[in-house]
């Protein structure tokens, strides 16, 4: 597990998800677990933590479906910012 995945899992479990929804792993489908208001909070947290601006088109089920997909998308953004 990458450190970004660990950070995401910690933040999501502690701040955004009701514990009665069950344990969340990197490959857990986040549909039905993270609601629309929590997604917007997550976007703000990602911008603040990783230092890039999130585009509207990127707030999608493809990128936000699981922690693994979030991790891959965040790493792509960090690479393009660094390039």
């Amino acid at each position: 597990m990458t450190s970004i995945e660990q950070q995401l899992l910690k933040h999501i479990k502690e701040e955004l998800v009701s514990s009665f929804k069950g344990d969340i792993q990197s490959d857990t489908d986040l549909a039905g677990i993270i609601d629309s208001t929590a997604i917007m909070e997550l976007v703000v947290w990602i911008e603040g933590t990783f230092g890039f601006t999130v585009e509207i088109d990127d707030i999608s089920p493809d990128n936000f479906g699981t922690v693994q997909r979030l991790d891959a998308w965040i790493r792509r953004n960090l690479e393009s910012t660094a390039a």
């Binding site: 009701s18 069950g22 993270i34 609601d35 629309s36 208001t37 909070e41 976007v43």
Partner: protein
């Protein structure tokens, strides 16, 4: 005599091959839906479940949920909608109260809830085959498990007419947030809902050529009345994957090209601020319905500028009135009185009452009270009169404050109840305070809503620590997440020395609301506003 299930039977007879419902990965015609619902109804009847019995539905918007809904109605039983967005304690309490004979449940919820549900009263659990592995705790208590797939294989006939059936009997029960912190089961009759669907449509003028992108959950009246209206018309409903991704909802509007859309203010705010609505062409879209609260005049104008060819329609109502009471539209009517929610629908009476229950003249502000054929038959708990919700004359006390102008246009100016409307959900302080009070460090707590540009209102809590306890807002938010869904978790928690109270000891929520309504750094939603 007409019953809700007749809407589907008629649609299947007249438009058998027309698509009734389109989901992201599935679709069904009216003929198929009619046949599937008959199979479910036959299975329920075989289990001894029919008229006079309740069958609960705990489902997000799925094809299985749609089939079960119509199947339950066709069996003669009453549907009981339980919001999946409620916390587990609320769900279990609602099932305990409703005592359903069977429960139609989505596999994911059976997985989460099997142990708690084993203590409730169901004889039979209805799900899909992939849920069988989660049913162990229920089977151990003698309840039976039935998979939809097996039911649909057994195509069975169903008696067409039900001798002695009465359209004024209860067809559906919908659980909605209640003032006490417990959800209230609102019982609506066939006649209530058929009146509402046909009367509202007489004002809005939808036809068989219309279609809808549905974003509301079917377990709320907003979703159910859309389903009934479009089934009555033989129109197609496109089921959105949900409002978690506003830009994805906009892409659904492009891909499905529905002629109508219905949303609450939160949905429109999100489309305007978190999608590229303004720069996207939606040539098929003809009408947008705004319900469940008011968009500000500025937001209404923004919306109309974003979709200049679309007619806007506003309505006001509540679950207890099946739901719609008023209508305002199309756009020229809306912009003539942008702060009104319209005039009473034909057959609906609106009155404004003073504090002593006396009728007030035009222009005077008081409680909005409604009458007409859509008013609920009662609550499952039986306290619709004792709670003051239904008065001695059978009128519905809405708990909303407003006035009527000389033309009968209703203007709402606030609520006499403590309801908080946040992100399209209706919440009451009691359910959140109950959870806060379970924290050992909490002495007293008060929960209220303050205006929020994106959420409508956001939930704020003020907490007085118990003697000898140190509390942090973070601790309390984490604690709330153990029992509440995220939308109900206070977005701000203030630790205070005392709560303002009236001489009789009642918490002055208005004083707290005024104190904490000022702009604040915690408004992540506002900070994210983007004009695309």
């Amino acid at each position: 005599m007409m019953f809700l299930a007749d809407l589907l039977v008629n649609a299947a007879r007249r438009w058998p091959d027309k698509l009734a419902a389109v989901f992201p990965h599935e679709r069904v015609t009216y003929a198929e839906l009619e046949q599937h619902s008959r199979s479910v109804a036959a299975e329920l009847n075989r289990l001894g479940i029919g008229p006079g019995k309740r069958v609960a539905i705990l489902h997000d918007n799925t094809l299985a949920a749609l089939i079960y809904y119509w199947g339950i109605l066709r069996s003669g039983a009453v549907t009981v909608d339980i919001p999946t967005s409620a916390g587990h304690a609320t769900i279990v309490a609602a099932l305990d109260e409703a005592q359903p004979s069977a429960l139609a449940i989505q596999p994911a919820y059976l997985k989460q809830l099997a142990v708690e549900l084993a203590g409730t009263c169901q004889r039979a659990v209805l799900s899909t085959a992939n849920a069988a592995e989660f049913a162990g705790p229920l089977l151990a208590r003698g309840q039976s498990f039935h998979a939809l797939e097996a039911m649909l294989e057994r195509k069975q006939a169903l008696p067409e007419a039900r001798a002695g059936a009465d359209p004024s009997t209860v067809a559906m029960t919908i659980y909605t947030s209640g003032t006490t912190g417990r959800a209230k089961g609102v019982m609506l009759s066939h006649a209530n809902l058929l009146f509402n669907a046909s009367t509202f449509n007489s004002q809005v003028g939808l036809t068989n050529q219309d279609s809808l992108l549905l974003v509301a959950p079917l377990y709320y009246i907003h979703g159910r009345i859309q389903l009934l209206t479009y089934t009555m018309l033989g129109g197609t409903i496109f089921f959105s994957a949900g409002f978690r991704f506003p830009q994805a909802v906009l892409q659904e509007l492009v891909r499905y090209a529905p002629t109508t859309f219905s949303g609450v203010p939160y949905h429109y705010s999100m489309l305007l601020t978190h999608s590229k609505l303004r720069s996207t062409q939606l040539p098929s879209l003809r009408k947008m319905m705004i319900t469940g609260g008011a968009l500000s005049p500025a937001r209404l104008r923004e919306l109309q500028e974003a979709v200049p060819h679309v007619a806007l329609h506003i309505n006001y109502g509540m679950t207890e009135s099946s739901p719609r009471l008023t209508h305002l539209g199309p756009s020229d009517e809306v912009f003539a009185r942008p702060t009104s929610c319209g005039r009473a629908l034909p057959g609906v009476t609106l009155e404004i009452l003073g504090e002593a229950g006396e009728p007030l003249p035009g222009g005077a502000i008081g409680e909005v009270v409604a009458g007409g054929p859509g008013i609920m038959t009662g609550y499952v708990s039986g306290d619709e009169h004792a709670s003051g919700r239904i008065d001695a004359r059978g009128r519905l006390r809405t708990g909303d404050l407003g006035y009527l102008d000389a033309d009968g246009h209703l203007f709402l100016i606030g609520r006499s109840s403590e309801m908080i409307k946040s992100a399209g959900e209706r919440l009451f302080p009691g359910e959140i305070e109950d959870v806060l009070q379970r924290h050992p460090g909490v002495g007293e707590s008060a929960v209220f809503g303050v205006p929020d540009p994106a959420l409508g209102e956001r939930v704020v809590a003020c907490v007085v620590p118990a003697p000898g306890h140190d509390l942090t807002p973070e601790d309390l938010k984490t604690h709330c997440l153990t029992a509440l869904s995220y939308v109900r978790v206070p977005k701000e928690v203030h630790i205070v020395a005392e709560l303002p109270k009236t001489p009789s000891g009642k918490i002055k929520r208005n004083a707290l609301r005024a104190r904490f309504a000022s702009p604040d750094s915690g408004r992540a939603h506002e900070a994210r506003e983007v004009h695309a």
